[in-house]
Symmetry: C2
Subunit: 430 residues, 2 copies
Amino acid sequence: MVPHLVTALTGPISELEQRVLESVPAIERWFRLEWMEHTPPFYSSVDLRNAGFKVAPIDTNLFPGGWNNLTPEMLPLAVQAAMAAIEKICPEARNLLLIPENHTRNPYYLMNVAQLQLIFQSAGLNVRIGSINPDITQNTEVRLPNGESLLLEPVNRSQYRLELKGFDPCTILLNNDLSAGPPGILEDLHEQFLLPPIHAGWSVRRKTIHFKAYEEVAKRFGKMLGIDPWLINPLFESAQQVDFAQGQGIEALQDSVTAVLAKVRRKYKEYGIAEKPFAVIKADNGTYGMGVMTVQDASELDSINRRTKNKMSVVKDGQQTSDFIVQEGVLTIENIGGATAEPVVYMMDRYVVGGFYRTHASKGADENLNAPGATFLPLAFEPEHVLDAQGHPTAHIPNRFYMYGVIGRLAMLAASYELEKTDPNAEVYA
Amino acid sequence: MVPHLVTALTGPISELEQRVLESVPAIERWFRLEWMEHTPPFYSSVDLRNAGFKVAPIDTNLFPGGWNNLTPEMLPLAVQAAMAAIEKICPEARNLLLIPENHTRNPYYLMNVAQLQLIFQSAGLNVRIGSINPDITQNTEVRLPNGESLLLEPVNRSQYRLELKGFDPCTILLNNDLSAGPPGILEDLHEQFLLPPIHAGWSVRRKTIHFKAYEEVAKRFGKMLGIDPWLINPLFESAQQVDFAQGQGIEALQDSVTAVLAKVRRKYKEYGIAEKPFAVIKADNGTYGMGVMTVQDASELDSINRRTKNKMSVVKDGQQTSDFIVQEGVLTIENIGGATAEPVVYMMDRYVVGGFYRTHASKGADENLNAPGATFLPLAFEPEHVLDAQGHPTAHIPNRFYMYGVIGRLAMLAASYELEKTDPNAEVYA
């Protein structure tokens, strides 16, 4: 089930969406059975693009920020899902240590941290914020834009445990994607639950592994629903050992671009789609929308300027990158007040608990919206899905957020396959 | 966690409420640990009374009607909780058969059935309504007040299974409290999940057993929180083999009334409460507000008129009754627009998913509100618990619905103790 949120969609319901909407019980049962075999990530958010003829995830985040962008009506859903997650993993938990990103000067990011603290407090845990930023050497109170404040405390590492002064947590929740690699302070914490596990961080994750897993999920889901998996799956190729600065490996990258575009062109022809195919090149370990460029032809890589070279060589936390995913570009038909928009779906445990639109007024339908200048538009509950004075529903409006909730969960399921595959301790259970 | 709903409470926060509000993590953890040992009822609703100095459950319903009285914002919470319940009990479930009460001429009750159908459909099940009313011999479409309609189908019983024509359910959800005893058609269904179990029906349940279990729960909870359990527990005595019509057993009933009033008087004195104690006599197996009378003194039972005698002899579905619970009367300080009000808390699995006020304009603070003329006022989300344009909470308003959610869950937990005690198959697991 997915809450009924208002989308910006006003066009007719596509064949794909219709198929999804009429198959709710089968889809929900399919997910139920999948979750009997696989463990959902503790929490996640998924960026989607809806091209009308196709809907696909383009990024899956296992350390979601932006919880502050959900509407207040979503909070009880998030809390209820958090309760379910905690009950499953660590029912005896009393104290939760929340470890945020180190860029503590972004007040909106800190609003997100405060929102997470509220969610887990409401779920019944004592929650304190422990910073692993080496600059935070003493308790630091940060003022938030809404006038409230957040207390960041430096973490102490004993031989086996992570603690704050006077606070011994049984569970540690990471909201830090570990792009720079897991700091020693987080390793070998065998006495405490670390959520998500270290190998969910971007020092281990690769987009190619995620989308390979997603391809498998899309095939199985497509078979169950009787649809071509391409309608929900962005095609991709990988390109490794590319050095933009030195101009090395560019031909291999171009070959990947050409291969992806050729496949997409065939699919467009099959479906009679008149749009021009494009590909998105992304750092295989990139996040925060960094290390991303869009091309319509491999030849565009013959002459790239210094700025693009630099952009494509370094990702979050200054990490160098040489491996890339070349992904089918998926147009977005969503547009809000003249700004191009893409939905972001938020999940806690296996549950969709909310979402918002990322919008960008100066980007086109074929561009990366996760860029400076993006704004966030919370998705409200469908107001017409409302009861009259006697408590009776007044109208049946199709839940157009439902499909987004399905695609979001398919990407989450792919992340669960991916984490099984990359689990360094997997052999223990094999 | 309990959703933040608007209560009618405007007075100062009592000492008890303050204690509860400042102990959220401890309370939630306590419930988490209880649910590791005990299985929550599939769904439930609890009627509460808040006297200011004390808050207590007065009735726990394991076949809750009135789901149509919840606000639409509550629906996703109910669905998410339903998903969690289904996953735990019967994850492979595909088809759910919903069996309503037989009084199919009450359009508001049928709205409740339609709402339950919507909740479980959204949770991913095919849901059809099977009537066990002998008058329903063919498919019957009933028009609902909102213009929609509900299809009631006659159930077929094969040797081991209950089915509809062309619909073989793996799970059967009862919304019929079986006051008249479980019909043969529901017995020995060993191949299908029957939720809740037959012994949760009023042919087996006794209020005295429930409130004995609640007393135990209240003691344990009170110890954890450091409060006198009386502040959340209505005292009671039982009286058996009372025949109002023949005037037999009345002295024993009067002794119970006197004993309860004496205990309450002592407690009122201890706490300096100036109110006049009263007791409520209820049929031990009664529901729907039937078989209930209020007394301030045992002598009132010396001369009771024929109407009261009749009222106290017969409960729902025409069942004769001779066993009674004499319960401490709990005043309600809640008042909405001049009407006396009491909150009703709705739960699915272990989660509070909503609530409403039962109000009655012509009843006093010491009277039974579950009587003809009662109206229902949905509880909305606290509107001031709202985010501003940047998604930041604008104010912190204490969640005064929280305490009701706690008391509701304590009564649900008592029901879970009760069902363990009355389970006819309990020895199988012992």
